[in-house]
Structure formats: structure tokens, C-alpha cells
């Protein structure tokens, strides 16, 4: 890829090492920053009469471990140091200080430093989270090998719990950021006719906080890992191994990244739309990201606050959640006050993506567009008043059960409107069953099962029995994998030609879809049955009468895992084979703005500001195109799709 480009230029080809300089410098700065923080922490300890560092301390309740204090302060200094090293010093801080700024390279090296181009950032997010998805998927495979038979010795209970916890938070981070961070960043500005996001530099900051999160989660294992799941309920998360603090610090940083991203999307969609891009002409995917951005901006801080309180209980000795006056239920409330809206951060962009693909691939206007938008707004509005349905058996006052049952089942009404839009769109269409279309249809089927089974968990009587069983595991995997990850794959297959200028193999794509669809269902459908028959979640072993169903689930899960290999082969073949076909500007003959420019789009996105003159979904009307460019000498027909 780079060889061909370099061959055209007289300039010498940059060495591979030079591309990694920003990241290596960032790591070096981070180590130095950590050292400074650690020394300050030790100094404070000495000044208060404590031993600087006691590596052999016990973690008894009532004692405050010096290692955790030192690591926490080191981390706080390491994060800004990393950001400076990886590029913000050269591009941003030097400017504040009045010095000449360093320019970001324009070749492949821009993907490894703080580029402010939303397309670069989108691809940075995408490649990062595809890797996280695959690594966390390997974690799932290890868990299923352990669970293939009862009392299996493959993993110890402690190692199992740690892998389960890592799998949980890594997949939650994929769910939060994979669709919004990558496709949101890459396509929202183009789809509304903007040259970039409203705050390109903030956008780069959002992304470059992400490696901190992932590296910290891995470094946690050096401190014993953490075994409290992604929910990290105290008092367990105050009493377990020191690795827990790395989880808390990492996820607080991830929250910061998420809030920055949310603000950026809100401002971009409000302020950066091209002339004529009225709210009624905004593509549905943009609407969905816009809605999810509100959730990310307003709710993430509650998770960060609860994680901070746990951290303070550990390293400062506060008693938010432990000891006399400690209130463990406080954490559950604040945690779910974010984490329930978070599931809509996961799935709203999934809804938008699926509807987008269904409309273009059915060659039909998106059915009941305004109702779908109203449904998004309804979900955003109601998402903040349903959190306690995660706590029906937590011991909270029983007077709260009825109200939360009511609000939770109310939220099925806007979700039903999404199904109306999906069904109305494919009805009487001309369905082009491409790989992205298959994934969008698979999304609709899977999310139906996820949604219907959700009613059983919203209903208090049945939830008392099903809570924390594999019924719940099956339910949320149907909504997150079956829903959001299928939408992610729809988006990937739909937009890969636009992002890379190369087509993916349809044959491998369809193999990928059918393997994923079949084995996803054979993996997770039996889990409903296992949950009903007494299998609780987050366990390294189970009752022997559940052996057969678990063996079946494990075999299905390994086959589901293998379907991702087909995906990897498809992508690598397309990127690196000389025989992979090149993509035209509009291989799907779709109408939205990104298809009016070359594949991949030019740096400035558009030759001139597009003027939006019609609906993005005006299929079959023979009427106006979605947008035109006012280039002198060219008629509207020539420049529009």
C-alpha cells in the first residue's frame, strides 16, 4: 500500500520505525509521569510518618495499601504525560505557548499520532476496537472451554473470574465506542455535509485516551487483576486484589473520552450541517448517533463518580461503601443510573445503522422516518428513569418495584416503533441481499428475541426467578451481539468500500454472516433454557445436570468464534491482495452524501460545500437527489448521484 504510494514520489520512503516515534515517545513520557506521581505519593507518605512503600503489606479491611496509593497518583500523572508524548505537545501545547507547531504527517504515519482528521480518527477507533473485540472474544472462548463440562480444571476459579471480568468490560467498551467512535466519527460529518467534526482536536483527545484504558486493563493483571465483573459492586471491589484500582482508573478515563465524544457529536450535528440539511433530511444513522451522544454526555459522569468513590474507599480510607455507614446500595443506584442508559448508547447507533442499510438495500424510503426519530428521542427521554430494574432483588424498598416495572415496560413502546420502521421499509421493497443487508436483517431478527425476552426481566415476578441467571446472559447477548455487533458488521461491510476504496468479497461476507447468524443463535438460545433450569451467571462451574446443554453451548460458541476468522481473512485479503476489486464511488447505488464523493473520500471530504435539496431516502419517487454541488460548469445531474 505504502510502497506504491512512495514509488510515485521522489522523497525517500519514511522508515517504519519513524511512524512509531509518537507512540514510543508517549510511552516513555507516561513512564516518566508515573515515576513523578509515584515519588510524590511516597513523599506524602513519608511526610505523614508512614513507610514510603511497603511491598509486603496485607490487604486487610481497615488498612490502606501503599501500593495502591502510589499507583493511583502515578497513573494521574502518567495520563497527561502520555497525551503530550503521543502528539498533543507538538500540535497543541506548543501553539498555546506561542511556538511553531509540529505538522502531522500526511502518509500512513498519521494513523499513529494525533491527527485531527475525523476520517483518520474513525479508522483509529475502528482498528482499535476490532482488535479489542477479537481479544475479548478469545476471553469468551476460554470461558466456554472452562464451562464445557462441570467441575472443569481448565481454569482456576480466580482466573476464570478475572477473564470473565475482563471480557465484560472490554466488550462493554466495544459496545460503547465501536459503532459511534469509528463509524460515527468517520461518517456523521460526511453525511451532514461537513468538512470535519466541530472540535477536531477534542476528537483526537477522545481517541488517544482509549489506549490508556486498554493498556491499564491489561496492566491490572500485574496487580492481581480484578474479579468483580464489569459491574464492580462494592464491598467486593473495595476488598479484592489491587488490580481493581486499575479498572477504576481506566474506566474513569474511558468515561472522560466518552463525554468528550458526546459533546463533539452534539455540537457537530447541531452546528455543522450543510445548507439545506434540515432536521427532516438528516440520515437516520446521524439521528441515532446524535441521540446516543446526549446519553453519553449526561449520564457517564454517574459511573465515573461511583468508581471514584470506590477508589477513595480503597486509597484514602473513606467509607462510602464499607464499614459503619457504608451504603453498598448507593453504588448500585449510581452505577445503573449510567449503565442502563449506556445500553441505549450501545444500541441506538445499532438501530440507526440497521435502518440505514435496510432503506438503501430495499431501494425504498425509510418507513415512518419521523416516528423512528421520535422513538430515538423517546428512548433518550425515558432511559434515565428505568435503572432500578437491575435492582429488583437488591433489597431496595419494595415500593419502588412497581414504578420501575412500569417505566421499563413503557420503553418497549418506542422500541416497537423501530420495528415498525424496519418492517415497513422492507415491505414491497426490491431487496438487494448483500452482506450488509443480511446483517441488518439478522439484527432485526436477533433484537426481536432480545426485546421479547426483556419483557420477562422487566416483570418483577419473573425477574425474581430469572435475575442473575443465564436467562439474563442470553438476553443481553441477544441485544448486544445480536443487536449492536450485527449492526457493527452491517456498517463494516456497508462502508468498508468507502473507507478503503476496496470491495470485500461478497462470498466470504455471506459465509461470515451465515456462520455468525447460525452459531450465534445456537450459542445463546440454549442459554435461556440453562437459566430457567438453575444456571446462575458468573460461575466457573455448575450443577452436573446442566452438562449436556453447556457442552452444546461451548461447541456452538467455538464455531461462532471461528466465524470471526472468516471476517479477518476477508478484510486482510481485500486490503493486501492485488486481485481484490477496487470500489467505485457508489458501489451500493445509495443516496446519502458519503456516496457522492470518491472512495476513499478526499481529505476535505467535498470539492465544495454540498447543498442538500431532498430526502436521503427518496427512492422510487423519481424526484430530487439528496444533494448537489454548486460547481460552476456542471449541471446538477452530473454531480449528484
Amino acid at each position: 500500500m505504502t510502497a506504491a504510494a512512495a514509488g510515485l514520489r521522489p522523497a525517500p520512503r519514511p522508515s517504519v520505525i519513524s511512524g512509531f516515534v509518537p507512540i514510543l515517545r508517549g510511552l516513555l513520557f507516561a513512564v516518566i509521569g508515573f515515576g513523578i506521581g509515584a515519588v510524590i505519593a511516597m513523599g506524602i507518605r513519608l511526610a505523614t510518618g508512614a513507610q514510603a512503600w511497603n511491598p509486603n503489606e496485607t490487604s486487610a479491611v481497615g488498612t490502606i495499601p501503599s501500593t495502591e496509593q502510589i499507583v493511583t497518583l502515578g497513573f494521574i500523572f502518567a495520563v497527561p504525560a502520555w497525551l503530550m508524548g503521543v502528539g498533543f505537545w507538538g500540535t497543541t501545547v506548543r501553539q498555546w505557548l506561542g511556538y511553531k507547531t509540529n505538522s502531522v504527517p500526511t502518509d500512513w504515519r498519521r494513523y499513529l499520532t494525533t491527527s485531527e482528521d475525523h476520517k483518520v480518527i474513525g479508522l483509529q477507533y475502528l482498528s482499535t476496537f476490532v482488535v479489542v473485540l477479537l481479544v475479548a472474544g478469545v476471553g469468551a472462548m476460554l470461558m466456554r472451554i472452562q464451562l464445557s463440562q462441570p467441575a472443569n480444571q481448565f481454569l482456576s476459579p480466580d482466573v476464570y473470574n478475572r477473564i470473565m471480568s475482563f471480557h465484560g468490560i472490554a466488550m462493554v467498551s466495544v459496545a460503547v465506542a465501536a459503532v459511534m467512535g469509528s463509524f460515527g466519527n468517520y461518517f456523521v460529518p460526511i453525511m451532514i455535509g461537513a468538512r470535519d467534526m466541530a472540535y477536531p482536536r477534542l476528537n483526537a483527545l477522545s481517541f488517544w485516551l482509549v489506549p490508556v484504558v486498554i493498556v491499564s486493563l491489561f496492566l491490572s493483571e500485574l496487580l492481581g487483576g480484578w474479579d468483580s465483573g464489569w459491574t464492580a459492586y462494592p464491598p467486593l471491589s473495595v476488598r479484592n486484589a489491587a488490580g481493581q484500582i486499575m479498572f477504576n482508573l481506566a474506566i474513569i478515563v474511558f468515561g472522560l473520552s466518552s463525554i468528550f465524544g458526546g459533546i463533539n457529536f452534539i455540537v457537530t450535528v447541531i452546528k455543522m450541517r450543510a445548507p439545506g440539511m434540515t432536521w427532516g433530511r438528516v440520515p437516520i444513522f446521524v439521528w441515532s448517533v446524535f441521540a446516543a451522544a446526549f446519553l453519553a454526555t449526561f449520564f457517564t459522569q454517574f459511573f465515573a463518580a461511583s468508581l471514584t468513590m470506590v477508589l477513595l474507599d480503597r486509597v484514602v480510607g473513606t467509607n462510602f461503601f464499607i464499614g459503619q455507614g457504608g451504603a453498598p446500595l448507593l453504588y448500585e443506584h449510581t452505577f445503573w443510573f449510567y449503565s442502563h442508559p449506556a445500553v441505549y448508547i450501545f444500541v441506538l447507533p445499532g438501530f440507526g445503522m440497521a435502518l440505514e442499510v435496510l432503506a438503501h438495500m430495499s431501494r425504498k424510503p425509510l418507513f415512518a422516518y419521523r416516528w423512528a426519530v421520535a422513538a430515538f428521542i423517546g428512548i433518550v427521554g425515558m432511559s434515565g428513569i428505568v435503572w432500578a430494574h437491575h435492582m429488583f432483588v437488591s433489597g431496595m424498598p419494595s415500593a419502588l418495584l412497581g414504578p420501575f416495572l412500569v417505566t421499563t415496560e413503557l420503553i418497549s413502546i418506542p422500541t416497537g416503533l423501530i420495528f415498525l420502521s424496519a418492517l415497513g421499509t422492507v415491505w414491497m421493497g426490491r431487496l438487494w441481499l448483500t452482506t450488509p443487508m443480511l446483517f441488518a436483517l439478522g439484527f432485526t431478527f436477533n433484537f426481536l428475541i432480545g426485546g421479547v425476552t426483556g419483557i420477562f426481566l422487566a416483570d418483577v415476578p419473573t425477574d425474581i426467578s430469572l435475575h442473575d441467571t443465564y436467562f439474563v446472559v442470553a438476553h443481553f447477548h441477544y441485544t448486544i451481539i445480536g443487536g449492536e455487533i450485527f449492526a457493527l458488521f452491517a456498517a463494516f461491510y456497508f462502508w468498508f468500500p468507502k473507507m478503503t476504496g476496496r470491495m470485500l468479497s461478497e462470498r466470504l461476507g455471506k459465509l461470515n454472516f451465515w456462520m455468525m447468524f447460525i452459531f450465534f443463535n445456537t450459542t445463546f438460545l440454549p442459554m435461556f433454557w440453562a437459566g430457567l433450569h438453575g444456571m446462575n451467571r458468573r460461575i466457573a462451574t455448575y450443577q452436573s445436570d446442566l452438562a449436556n446443554v453447556n457442552l452444546f453451548i461451548s461447541i456452538s460458541a467455538l464455531l461462532l468464534g471461528s466465524s470471526f476468522l472468516v471476517f479477518v481473512i476477508n478484510v486482510l485479503y481485500s486490503l493486501f491482495s492485488k486481485r481484490a476489486p477496487r470500489a467505485s464511488a457508489n458501489p451500493w447505488k445509495a443516496r446519502t452524501l458519503e456516496w457522492l464523493v470518491s472512495s476513499p473520500p478526499p481529505v476535505e471530504n467535498f470539492p465544495s460545500t454540498p447543498i442538500v435539496v431532498g430526502s436521503p431516502y427518496g427512492y422510487g419517487t423519481g424526484g430530487r437527489p439528496h444533494a448537489v454541488f454548486s460547481i460552476a460548469g456542471a449541471s446538477d445531474e452530473e454531480v449528484s448521484a
Binding site: 467486593l236 451504603a327 432483588v393 419473573t462 433450569h533 460461575i539 450443577q543 422510487g620
Partner: protein
Amino acid sequence: MRRHIAIVGLIWVVLTFAGLIAAQVVFQPAVFSDKGQTIDGTFKTLLIMSVPVFTFVIAALGYSVIAFRHRGQPDEDGAPITGRGPLPLAWFVVTSVMALGVMVYPGLTELPNVVHLDPKPDVVVNIQGQQWQWSVKYPQTGAKSNAELVLPVNEKVGFQITSIDVIHSVWIPAFRMRIDAVPGLTTYMSFTPTAMGDSKTDSGLRLQCSQLCGTSHAAMFMPVRVVSAADFQAWQTANTPHIEPGSGQQLALTASAGAAKNGFDEKALTANSTDNITINFANNDPGTVHNIAIKNGDTVVGATDFKPGPGTQVLTVAPLPPGTYTFLCQAHPTTMLGTLTVK
């Protein structure tokens, strides 16, 4: 258009009938409590209500994919149906009525039947969770056990549940009932066991922790047995320790200020195996909660309640076989501990 709608309607009706027949299959394992029967009934009701919704979407989606698919790239666009007419409003009204319906029945109507607490249960059971074992006490008779939970059939049982360390959750699958065990909080649950059985014949009869509580979470369960009233009385008698408080050998133990860090003043105690053992524990650590417990490996032999100092606590246990035991404060198990040697 009319033909398509008719076919989808036909598929929907057929699938719904098939689904309703399939819903008659017993999805639930054997149930052993009155509230469990209500819960299973609610599950069945929801299952039946969800069948037509599920089959409607499957019929419409499946038929569309088959009937409207196009080989290769479509040469023309589909019908420009935008959905601006009354149909979305009708859908909104119908789905809202359905959501409100399922909310009221079986949701709100069955809710009080399941969470209702009996003010005067026949049998009271205290359950205490700790990493990673359960212990049960019957305050009406003084019976207690770390080995199994035994309940009489057809008598109203009221549970009072707490935890001494992290959040656990009391779940007995065969009863379908569950409530968290939260440190610093007492939670309640009540129901009536309706059939006799034990965990050897039904693995659902187990008191399983269902809230992630650390390393051995999966193994934190205790067998449950439902027996006749007579057998229950006999079991309680056999499991009531008949120990005169303060009887037998007298051992003194002291915790001074800062004991949470420094431990007990005494690190080792000695007793003989012929008589009851009484530890007179002086908690001189003002404001800090301690207790005194004796452990044989991971099994708690006896323990006092948690109380802040200053104060005295007396722990009396039946004679112990010769061996080495641990005495400890369960609030500070890694610092406040010592060895009790029985000769």
C-alpha cells in the same frame, strides 16, 4: 399488495398456533413453593402473550425477505411508501395498549403476590452470607447449621438475610425466590414450601449465591431439604447446641485500641478437649466493631455478633476434638487472628 397482506396474515396465524402449542411444553423444572407456582404461572402467561408479537414480526420479516428479494442489484426502486399515513399512529396505539396491558397483567397484579411479606410466619430463618459459605439460624428454637437449610413442608417461612462482608444473593432455584444479602442491611423474603424433596433428587433445591462475590462464588451453595413437620422438629432438636453460655473452661482474650491493625493482644490460646470452651473477649478498642469467632479450617464453629468497643463478648462452644483451630475477628480476618490449640 392485498395478496401479500393476506399471505402474511395466514403465515402469522399458522405460526401463532404452532407457537401456542410449543408454549405448552413445560419449560420450567419442578417447583417447590407457593410463590414459585405464581412465578411460573406469570412466566407462562408472558410466554403466551409474546407468541403473537414474535410471530407477527417473523411472518412480516420472513415473507418480505423471500417475496421481495432481488437477484443481484435491483434495476429499479421499490414502491415509495413513506409511512406518513395513519398506519404508524395505529401501530403506536396498538403497541401502547399492549405494553400497558402486560404492565397491568401479569406485571402489577402479580407483583404483590410475590413480594408480599408474611407478618407472622410459622418458621423464622436467619441466613447469613460470607465469603464463601452460608450459615442458617432458627431464632425460635436456637437451631443452627452451616451444612444445610431444612424447611418444613406447607408452613409459612420468613427469612431475614444479611451478609458480613460483600454482597451475596440468596437464591433457591426450586422455590424460584431470590433476594440479595447486603452487609449493613437486613433483607426479607417469605414463602411456603409446597413439596418435600432434597438436593440429591433435585439440584434446584440448593441455597446458591447468585451475586458475584469473589473467587469461590460458584461453589457458594448449601443443600436445601424440605421435610415433614415431625422431621423438621427432630432436625431442629438435633441441631440445637445445648451449651450453657459461659460454661466450661474460661479463656481470656483482649483487643486493645488499634486492634484492627495490630491484632489481638493474645496470639495463641490453649484448651483441652473434655469440656465446653468459653472465650471471654474484652473489646477495649473504642468505636471499632469486632467479634470473636472460632474456625476449624473454613468452617465456623462459633461466633458472636459484631459489636463496637468497649464491651465484653462471651463465646461458648461445645467441646472440640483435639487439633489446631483459628480464633479470629471476622471483621478483620487477616490481622486479628490467632491459634487455638485443643489437646
